[in-house]
C-alpha cells in the first residue's frame, strides 16, 4: 500500500529491513525541509515570529504523540534521541534511585541490547538481581510464566511489546494488571510495536513506554519516552543545562522547569521532532489498524511460501508481527544476505542486537525479514524465488 509516497521505492530495491529502520514518506521529508528553509530558528528562545512558529510546531508534535499512543496529558511525552536514550533515561533517572540490593528486575532473553544493558549496569551498581521470564515453546511470553518469576522482591518488569527477532506480541495489558496489583512497575520497549500496532497506554496502563521515530516513517535521532504524569516528578534529569532550568545561583540553588521540559536540556532535534509529528499524521491517515492487518496477511503469505522450502529453517513461525527470522541449512546468514543483496534485496543478518536470544533460539545468527505496509506480495515472491534454489545461493554467495 501507499508505495508512491516513498521516494526510496523509486529505486530498484526490495527493502525488507524495516525492523532496523523504516523508509520515509515524501511528506515527512518535505516537512523537515520546510523547517530548514522557512523557519529554522531555535525553540523556546526567540521573541520573534519564526521562533514562535518553531514552538508551535514542536509542541504540536507532543500533542500528536499524546493522541497517537493514547496518553492522558501532553506533559507525559518527553522527546529523546530514540528508544535507547529513553530506556537509559528511565533506568538511570528513575530506577537507579529506587532499586536496592536484592530487588528484582524482570526481563526476557529476547530483549534488544538497549533493554538489557542499562539494567545490567544498574543491577551492578545497586545489587539488584536480573531475572528472566521463562519462554514457552514458541519463545513467547505468557502471563503464567511471568507469575513463576515474580516475587515480593520484584520491583520492575521491562519488556518489549514486540521483540525484534522472535516478533511475538506480548500481552502487555494483562502483564501490567498483574504487576500493578503487586506494586511492580512496567517499562515497555515499544520500538517494534508502536510503528506497527495500535498503542494505547491508558488502556494497557503501562508506566513507561520508549520508542523511536525512525522506525515509524519518521527521521533518525528522535524518540519518545512516555511516563505516567505522577511518576515523572520522580525522574531525575540526566542532562542539565540550557532550556530546562528556571534559575541557577549556586550548587544548592538550581530550580528546574516543569516536566517534561526539564528532561529536554539543550537545543533539541527540532527538525526531527517536527518530522515525527508529520510521520504520525501520515500513519494516522494510512490507519494503524489497516497497517497491522495488512502486515499480518503479508506475513502469512511469506510463511506459507517459506515452509515449503526444505532447506529453510524458520525460527518464529507462530509470531504475529511482520518479523520473520530464518536460516538456510548449512549456510551462514551473512552469506545469504550478501547473495540477496546482489538482487537488490535488503535483509538483515546477524544477532540483531539481541545477543541473549541465542540461548533460546539455539542459534546466534539468522536472517531477518521485517515487513512494513509498503511491502508487497510480489516482493515476497522475488525473495522466495531466490531462496528456493540452494545451489544458486551457494554459487553466488561469495
Amino acid at each position: 500500500m501507499h508505495r508512491d509516497d516513498f521516494p526510496m521505492l523509486r529505486q530498484d530495491i526490495i527493502y525488507l529491513d524495516n525492523g532496523a529502520t523504516s523508509l520515509k514518506p515524501q511528506c515527512v521529508i518535505d516537512k523537515m525541509t520546510d523547517y530548514y528553509e522557512n523557519y529554522s530558528a531555535n525553540a523556546h528562545r526567540g521573541d520573534y515570529d519564526i521562533s514562535y512558529k518553531v514552538d508551535l510546531e514542536y509542541e504540536n508534535t507532543r500533542d500528536l504523540v499524546k493522541d497517537f499512543i493514547g496518553a492522558k496529558r501532553k506533559e507525559e511525552i518527553v522527546f529523546t534521541s530514540g528508544t535507547t536514550d529513553s530506556l537509559n533515561l528511565i533506568v538511570n533517572g528513575f530506577f537507579s534511585g529506587l532499586l536496592e540490593a536484592g530487588d528484582e528486575i524482570i526481563l526476557t532473553k529476547t530483549e534488544h541490547a538497549s533493554n538489557v544493558m542499562p539494567w545490567f549496569r544498574v543491577a551492578g551498581e545497586t545489587g539488584a538481581i536480573i531475572k528472566y521470564i521463562p519462554l514457552d515453546d514458541n519463545n513467547f511470553v505468557t502471563l503464567d510464566n511471568l507469575k513463576k518469576v515474580v516475587t515480593p522482591k520484584t520491583k520492575v518488569i521491562s519488556l518489549a511489546e514486540i521483540t525484534n527477532v522472535v516478533g511475538d506480541i506480548r500481552p502487555i495489558k494483562e502483564i501490567t494488571k498483574f504487576a500493578h496489583e503487586r506494586d511492580i512497575f512496567v517499562v515497555v520497549d515499544g520500538a517494534q510495536s508502536v510503528p506497527h500496532i495500535k498503542t494505547n497506554v491508558s488502556d494497557t496502563d503501562v508506566d513507561f513506554l520508549a520508542f523511536s521515530a525512525h522506525k515509524m516513517c519518521g527521521p533518525t535521532g528522535v524518540g519518545v519516552l512516555y511516563a505516567k504524569y505522577e511518576l515523572m516528578q520522580n525522574i531525575e534529569p540526566m542532562n542539565l543545562g540550557g532550556g530546562m532550568n528556571e534559575s541557577f545561583d549556586a550548587p544548592d540553588k538550581m530550580v528546574l522547569k516543569e516536566v517534561p521540559t526539564r528532561f529536554e536540556a539543550g537545543t533539541p532535534n527540532i527538525s526531527g521532532v517536527i518530522g515525527l509529528g508529520e510521520a504520525i499524521k501520515y500513519l494516522n491517515k494510512v490507519g494503524m489498524d489497516k497497517i497491522s492487518a495488512y502486515e499480518k496477511n503479508l506475513r502469512s503469505y511469506l510463511i506459507e511460501k517459506l515452509v515449503s522450502i526444505p532447506h529453510i529453517d524458520i525460527l518464529n513461525i507462530e509470531a504475529d508481527s511482520g518479523i520473520v527470522a530464518f536460516n538456510v541449512d548449512g549456510l551462514f546468514s551473512e552469506d545469504v544476505a550478501y547473495y540477496l543483496n546482489k538482487y537488490g534485496i535488503c535483509v538483515r543478518a546477524g544477532s540483531h542486537c539481541a545477543k541473549l536470544t541465542k540461548d533460546v533460539l539455539g542459534v546466534a545468527n539468522s536472517i531477518r525479514v521485517s515487513l512494513y505496509f509498503y511491502n508487497t506480495e510480489s516482493e515476497i515472491d522475488s525473495l522466495v524465488e531466490l531462496l528456493k534454489d540452494k545451489d544458486k545461493i551457494m554459487k553466488e554467495m561469495f
Binding site: G330, L331, F332, S333, E334, D335, Y338, A349, G350, S351, A364, N365, M394, K395, M397, F398
Partner: protein, 142 residues
C-alpha cells in the same frame, strides 16, 4: 589460480574445514578474532613448540570466505617456523592488498587472489590472519 578452481577451494574449505573444533589444554593459546562491521567471530587455538607452530584449531561462526580462509591458513601454517609463518602471512596480505607477492608460497591461499575486487569481503579473507598475528605477538612477548 583458475576462477572455477578458486570457487571450489573456497566452497570445499567452507563446507569441510580442517580442525574445526575447540581444544582445551594449557599448551594451546586461544585468541579471538572478529571484524567491527560483520558478525564473523572466530576463536583460534594455537600450539607453539619453541619456534614452531605445531597445531592450530578453530571454532566460531563465520561466513564462507572467513571460514574457508581460516581452514586454508591452518593447513598452510601447521609445521612452519614462526619466521616462515610470518613470511606466508605477509605474502597473503600483499596478495589481498594488490601488492607484489610470492605466489609459490600461498598454495590454496591463492583461491583468494581476486578478493581485492570485493573490497567489502577483503576483511573476511584476512580475519584469521588478524587472529594469528595477535597470537604470534602474544607468544613472542611472553
Amino acid at each position: 589460480m583458475d576462477k572455477e578452481l578458486a570457487r571450489e577451494v573456497i566452497l570445499e574449505n567452507f563446507q569441510h574445514p580442517v580442525n574445526k573444533s575447540e581444544v582445551m589444554g594449557s599448551d594451546y593459546q586461544k585468541v579471538n578474532t572478529r571484524n567491527p562491521n560483520c558478525i564473523d567471530n572466530i576463536d583460534l587455538y594455537i600450539k607453539f613448540n619453541n619456534d614452531k607452530i605445531e597445531d592450530i584449531h578453530f571454532l566460531g561462526e563465520a561466513c564462507a570466505i572467513s571460514t574457508a580462509s581460516t581452514s586454508v591458513m591452518i593447513k598452510n601454517l601447521i609445521g612452519k617456523t614462526i619466521k616462515e609463518a610470518k613470511e606466508y602471512i605477509n605474502n597473503f596480505y600483499a596478495m589481498c592488498d594488490e601488492e607484489e607477492y610470492d605466489d609459490t608460497l600461498l598454495k590454496e591461499g591463492l583461491a583468494f587472489q581476486d578478493i581485492y575486487k570485493q573490497s567489502n569481503r577483503k576483511h573476511c579473507a584476512t580475519l584469521p590472519y588478524k587472529g594469528i598475528l595477535k597470537a604470534l605477538e602474544e607468544y613472542e612477548n611472553k
